[in-house]
Amino acid sequence: MLQNYLDFEEPIAVLEKKIEELQSSELLSPEEISEEILKLNESAIKLTEKIYSNLSAWQSVQVARHPQRPHFLDYVEKVCDDFDELHGDRHYGDDRAVIGGLASIGDHKVMLIGHEKGRSTEEKIEHNFGMSQPEGYRKACRLMQIAERFKLPVVTLVDTPGAYPGIDSEERGQSEAIAYNLQIMSSLKTPILVNVVGEGGSGGALALAVGDHITMMQYATYSVASPEACASIVWRDSTKSPDAAEAMKLNAENILKLNLIDEVIKEPLGGSHRNHDQAALILKNSIIKNLKDLKSFETTDLIERRYTRLMGYGSL
């Protein structure tokens, strides 16, 4: 895959380009080349470690939105042993911004639901950039209720800029669709494992994110509104997005400190976009472990625990 570099990754890009040039160099002997490459590789790793150990909130936003970051369907392919997609909300349509279905992950059979943004232009249009209309949330709700009936844990992968801001979304009850999911998820009689893998944007993210254990990938973000929306609401200036990102403390590390999530999942060196296989394996192992833990609870205890956790958020 051709690597897309973010502006703050420029020094890494320079090094990696040098390595590439050396590989095709005819001026040096093979021994000299491999020795030189080894050295450069080492510095590239060190440099990546250094840059990525100290990302600003805005840089995290850029990584979370990286065009090559693994999306829901990439994870389905690499995390699930099988996946049977279930379509439609049974009322109006099949929203492609939210995808769900029955999956096997390790020994666990689960209902897997998540946002899909799409990567190519065509896919982005199909999946509406991961911005769901009411039908996406209603499909998710239907699938969660199936999971409850058949005693399957729900696993969600959150990755959305937010719910779709459209005339037809409003006509078909965008607010109600989100609200109803929040209500249903608060008392769903089966474990819910939430993983914020990319952008956790606003109510559109939360509609898939009420659960018993909430993880965030290391460079994922999660906030009340996108930095752009926050900047235009509070600063009345959408160019203040980097300031808004900083002020909202939307990166995983800060959110863990605020006790609003349970766990940060470490990403491959330099972010998940550099190594899909490794990112998927890390996520898979985390899901398997967390499901095992959640399955150890009696259902009534689990619901009580979830409720107590919800009531604890921001209680003074």
């Binding site: 719910a163 801001p165 459209g166 005339i167 979304s169 409003e170 006509e171 078909r172 009850g173 965008q174 607010s175 109600e176 989100i178 609200a179 109803y180 929040l182 209500q183 249903i184 998820m185 608060s186 008392s187 606003s202 109510g203 939360l206 509609a207 009420v210 999660y222 906030s223 009340v224 509104a225 929306a229 926050c230 609401i233 509070v234 600063w235 203040k240 300031d243 808004a244 002020a247 909202m248 403390k249 939307l250 959110i255 605020l258 609003l260 409720y307 919800l310 009531m311 958020y313 921001g314 209680s315 003074l316």
Partner: protein
């Protein structure tokens, strides 16, 4: 006569500020819709609905509760919780300073007021949003007060009514605000499981996180006439999609037509309608 002068003088001086204030202190107030100058005692008798154009003028939370509940025996719930600056949030102003000025402007500690009282002798718990407090936005305290109000209703087996008017989740508490949507929705689920009625009354305007949680989850959803209610604000939709919005988009009448609410109720009929609904719902419960 001196008394008459004292009353009328400040009302002219205050003419401009009274336009912003929802609780007029002078004798005259102009309608925020048709700009007609209205006689305040008459306006108050009409529950602050403009007699000329029927516009439902914005009310402060406390005034609304005062006008809605029977005058005797009201008790405020969780009156003393104040907001907390969790994130040390600073935009063009510090969140702390924004809180202080909101408290001054609204004379409230936060954007939600909750009371137990009586509606035509029927005991109820009622919450009302204060729009002058940072646009009625929902942060941790609003969520917490809503929950404590509902817990009170659950304990005493009382119905719960919420008058919502809010710009949405409060940016300055970011994810904590967002989580209040889940928190309030969870306690509403408990009300439903307990078989206690929750009536949501939508007041102009409601958007974002409040619309997409507690406001939409009533057993019965009611709106005042012409209230604007939606997930995304009209300006954002217009700018994002570069479209012109249809006439009446997101107004109560639009919501009724699209099945989002049960009814539109004029402010003068609010007490009698809610009393009638609650009596019907509750008679079968016991």
């Amino acid at each position: 006569m001196a008394n008459w002068f004292e009353k009328i003088l400040p009302s002219f001086i205050r003419k401009d500020s009274s336009k912003k204030s929802t609780i007029p202190e002078g004798l005259w107030q102009s309608c925020s819709s048709c700009s007609n100058i209205l006689y305040v005692p008459e306006l108050e008798a009409a529950l602050f609905v403009c007699p000329k154009c029927d516009h439902h003028i914005r009310l402060g939370a406390r005034k609304r509760l005062e006008l809605f509940l029977d005058p005797e025996a009201t008790e405020e719930i969780s009156a003393n919780i104040s907001p907390n600056d969790w994130l040390k949030f600073k935009d063009t102003k510090k969140y702390k300073d924004r809180i202080a000025s909101a408290q001054e402007v609204s004379s409230e500690k936060e954007a939600l007021v909750v009371m137990e009282g009586k509606l035509n002798k029927l005991p109820v718990v009622v919450a009302a949003f204060e729009f002058r407090f940072m646009g009625g936005s929902m942060g941790a305290v609003v969520g917490q007060k809503f929950v404590e109000g509902m817990n009170h209703a659950l304990e005493k087996k009382l119905p719960f009514i919420c008058f919502s008017t809010s710009g949405g989740a409060r940016m300055q508490e970011s994810l904590i605000s967002l989580y209040q949507m889940a928190k309030t929705s969870a306690v509403i689920e408990r009300m439903k499981q307990a078989g206690l009625p929750y009536i949501s009354v939508m007041i102009d305007p409601i958007y974002g996180g409040v619309s997409a949680s507690l406001a939409m989850l009533g057993d019965i959803n009611i709106a005042e006439p012409k209230a604007l209610v939606g997930f995304t604000g009209p300006r954002v939709i217009e700018q994002t999609l570069n479209v012109q919005l249809p006439e009446g988009f997101q107004r109560s009448e639009f919501l009724l037509e699209h099945g989002a609410i049960d009814m539109i109720v004029h402010r003068k009929d609010m007490r009698s309608t809610l009393h009638r609904l609650l009596t019907k719902l509750q008679d079968n419960a016991s």
